[in-house]
Structure formats: structure tokens, C-alpha cells
Symmetry: C2
Subunit: 222 residues, 2 copies
DNA sequence: GTCAAATCGAACCGATTGGTTCGATTCTTT
DNA sequence: AAAGAATCGAACCAATCGGTTCGATTTGAC
């Protein structure tokens, strides 16, 4: 009874007794959907294309996902979860706020400007008129949560006397946006086809921090 | 030969001897297209809907515009031209850069966050994967041109000794983005359904300028 | 090897799409 | 009033869409 009664072979722990429950196939489908959605947007991506790209029959598609929208949402959540890990720990590994913010800013920018994240942005923004709930959920679980996290960090820095900020919520978003200056917008419009290099990122983030600190550093008493 | 051989009546200067050349009808069509595109995005907007919204037969639609994409581009250009006027003069009416930037920033933000501009952003971003030329053109004729204009103004301020900026191009985009902080992004995702009030705009722009000046004001010699 | 279940694959559905066509109608000019 | 052109409106086209169905085939468990 050690292993024979459940969970078996095929390279991993594939348990194949329930329709639409094979994690390998699910991953396969999401990978295909990723390519197609990224390349054509939500509307122009057809379920036929996705089935073909995933090497899966269309019937199977609908066994694993109820419809096109659910498939898309599942894809976004998978990808976000994968990226969120690791990026936000940079904040706690350096007592100096300049270095901590610099590290974090670069991670954040690299993540947001990746091929997938930019495509997802485009697709979600594109459909958010007809599907406002999707847009709102994407915004709240992504950018908004990131801003809250930084705001919390800034709060700590303020109470430690390392920064002088009145409205940390506003300052957090200012910081995020400053880090994206001249980077994200042209990518959203597809005016720049490749993610920025690390040098570009470093330059923009450095400039962002210089401005941020010029505004919020602790000033000596007058 | 003063007036009878061309240009005539019907409330204005309507000359109706060429197919697809009636400016009133053209405006009518663009107005309808505006509503439909804004409400449903590019893909989900059908030419039938547009014809109905414009009170025009579908045949006439194709007399005035070659196809859906050309109609959409014409709409964007009309609207951009209409909005661009007047906003950029605010820069030259005040010798004090703080007041000039403040006025300009508020105009800019109000314009970019208007119902139409946000919808256009959404639609263009949404299709720019499949139609990169459209996205690039939109970006260059819009945000990029705006940034260049501010950069020119900043150049003047620098040479007049009123500001201390090394990279005016970067500073220009920083200023624009700072003015949009916490305003544009949630609107793009439709997480905020109405344009910001003038009070909100004023608050964000004021904070943007405070940060901008903290970084780029002329500092007394050390 | 046997059996049941998951998957395939291809046909099929109704709806809708962008775009065209054409005779009937409306309007402008003479 | 008569002519002629722009517009209407409705039918029409082929293509494609998301989604369903079902017999044939593969696959895993025993």
C-alpha cells in the first residue's frame, strides 16, 4: 500500500483517474494559451489556435477550462504567482534604503517589462472595457498590491527616521512609476519590441532614486 | 459665379457632388464610431453597430472609409487634433516655471484622463500586438511628441538658469509620468470608472512638481 | 490481457463577422 | 419638373467564431 493505490508513474506523480485533472496536460494547455494570447490578444485568439498550439484537442480544452475567459484568467494567475515570488524579498535584505530600493526597483522593472507581463498588460487593458471586473481584479492583485507593499516598507523607514514622507501611499506609487519612466509605455504600444537591457533599467532606476531621495530624504533641521 | 457653381446651403458649406465627401456625414460617422469603439474595443466593435450608431447605412460607411482599421485611425487623428490645441500654450504664458509646469500639468492630465483618451489608449494598446505600426504611430504622435515639447521648454529654462537639469529628455518624461501617478493606470484597467476630479488632479500635480523641483531646482553654490 | 476512462479528431451548430451588391429612395442642381 | 448622383436598406457572401457532440483511439490501473 506504499505506492500502488494512488499516484503513479509517467515521469512524475501523474494521477489519471479524473477528467481534466492531469497537471501536465493543464500546464501544456496554459503554455499554448500563453503563446496565442500573447501573439494575438484576447479577441483574435481563437480556441482552435490554442488547441493547436497546445497539441490538444479542442474537446479536451473544454474539459480543463470552462470557456475562453476562464482559461485566460487561469493563465494570468499562474504567471503572476510565478513571478511574484522572490522579487519582493529584496526589500528586506539591506538596511540602507537607497540600496534596498535600488535592488527592488530593478527587479520590479525587469519583471514588469518581460515579454509575458507586457503582453498580459496589453490584453487585459484591451478587454477591460467590456470586462471591467477582469481589469479591476488584475489591477488590484498586481500593481495595487505591489504599491501597498512598498508603502509598508516606506512606513517602516519613516518610523526608523531614515526617510521623511508624509503620504507613503502616494510616495510608493511615485516610486514605482518613476522606475518605469520611458520604459513601460513604449512597450505597451509596441513601439519598442524588446525588453530593456539591464543597463537601461539601471540608468532609469538610478535616476528615479535620485529624484525620490531628493524629495524624501531626511533633511537637517533648519 | 460668386456662389452658385460650388459650395452650398444646408446650414453651412456643404458641397454634395462627390461620394463620401460630405463633411457633415463624415463627422456623423466618426461620432458613431467613437461611441462604439469606446464601448466595445476594436475587435468587438462591429461595422453594423457603427453604422447603426451613426444613423448611416453600412454601404455609406464603406464609401467614406476603406475599412475598419482606416476608420479607427481617422477617428483617433481627429480626436487628437481636437485636443492638442490649446493645451500646449500654457507653457509660454508664465515666466515662473513652477506655475507654468503646474498649469500645463493639469491641462495634460485632464486631457489624458478624459473618457475618450482613455478609451483610445485601451483600444490601441489592445491591438498593438497585431498592429504594431498603429501602436507605434499612436505613441510617437502622442506621448512622444508631448515629451519632446516639454523637453524643449526645460531646455529653455536651463539656459535661462531657472532649472538645473542634465538630461532634459528624461526629466520631461519623468514630469509627465509623475503627473499621472495613481491616476492613469487604474483608469486603463477600468478599476476607476470616472475621470479624476480637478481637486485630485491638482493634488497629484502639486506633489509631482514638489518632487520635480526638489530634484531639479537650481541649488546655491556649495 | 482486459476493461474503463481520458483523450483525440473531425464534423457540426448557430451566431456573427467584415465586406459587397443593387434596386429603391432621397436630395441637389439645373 | 426633370435629371442625376448620393444615400439607404436589406439581402447576401464566405469565413470564422466559441462551443458541443460522438465514435474511434489511446492510455493507465488492475
Amino acid at each position: 500500500m506504499t505506492e500502488s493505490s494512488e499516484a503513479k508513474v509517467k515521469g512524475g506523480a501523474r494521477n489519471r483517474r479524473v477528467a481534466g485533472a492531469d497537471p501536465d496536460k493543464r500546464r501544456q494547455i496554459l503554455d499554448g494559451a500563453n503563446h496565442v494570447f500573447a501573439a494575438r490578444g484576447f479577441d483574435a485568439a481563437s480556441m482552435n489556435d490554442i488547441a493547436a498550439a497546445a497539441n490538444v484537442s479542442k474537446g479536451t480544452l473544454y474539459v480543463y477550462f470552462q470557456d475562453k475567459e476562464h482559461l485566460f484568467v487561469a493563465l494570468i494567475e499562474r504567471e503572476r504567482e510565478a513571478q511574484k515570488r522572490g522579487a519582493f524579498e529584496a526589500l528586506n535584505h539591506d538596511p540602507d534604503p537607497v540600496r534596498a530600493l535600488s535592488n527592488f526597483g530593478q527587479c520590479l522593472v525587469r519583471m514588469i517589462n518581460s515579454e509575458f507581463a507586457v503582453s498580459a498588460h496589453r490584453v487585459v487593458i484591451g478587454v477591460s472595457e467590456r470586462m471591467p471586473d477582469l481589469g479591476q481584479s488584475f489591477y488590484e492583485k498586481g500593481p495595487m498590491q505591489g504599491a501597498r507593499l512598498i508603502a509598508g516598507y516606506l512606513d517602516r523607514m519613516v518610523s526608523e527616521g531614515k526617510l521623511a514622507i508624509e503620504d507613503t501611499q502616494l510616495a510608493a506609487v511615485q516610486f514605482i512609476d518613476l522606475c518605469q519612466v520611458s520604459l513601460l509605455r513604449p512597450r505597451l504600444f509596441n513601439a519598442v519590441r524588446t525588453p530593456p537591457t539591464d543597463e537601461e533599467i539601471h540608468r532609469v532606476v538610478a535616476s528615479a532614486i535620485e529624484m525620490f531621495m531628493a524629495r524624501y530624504r531626511v533633511k537637517p533641521k533648519a
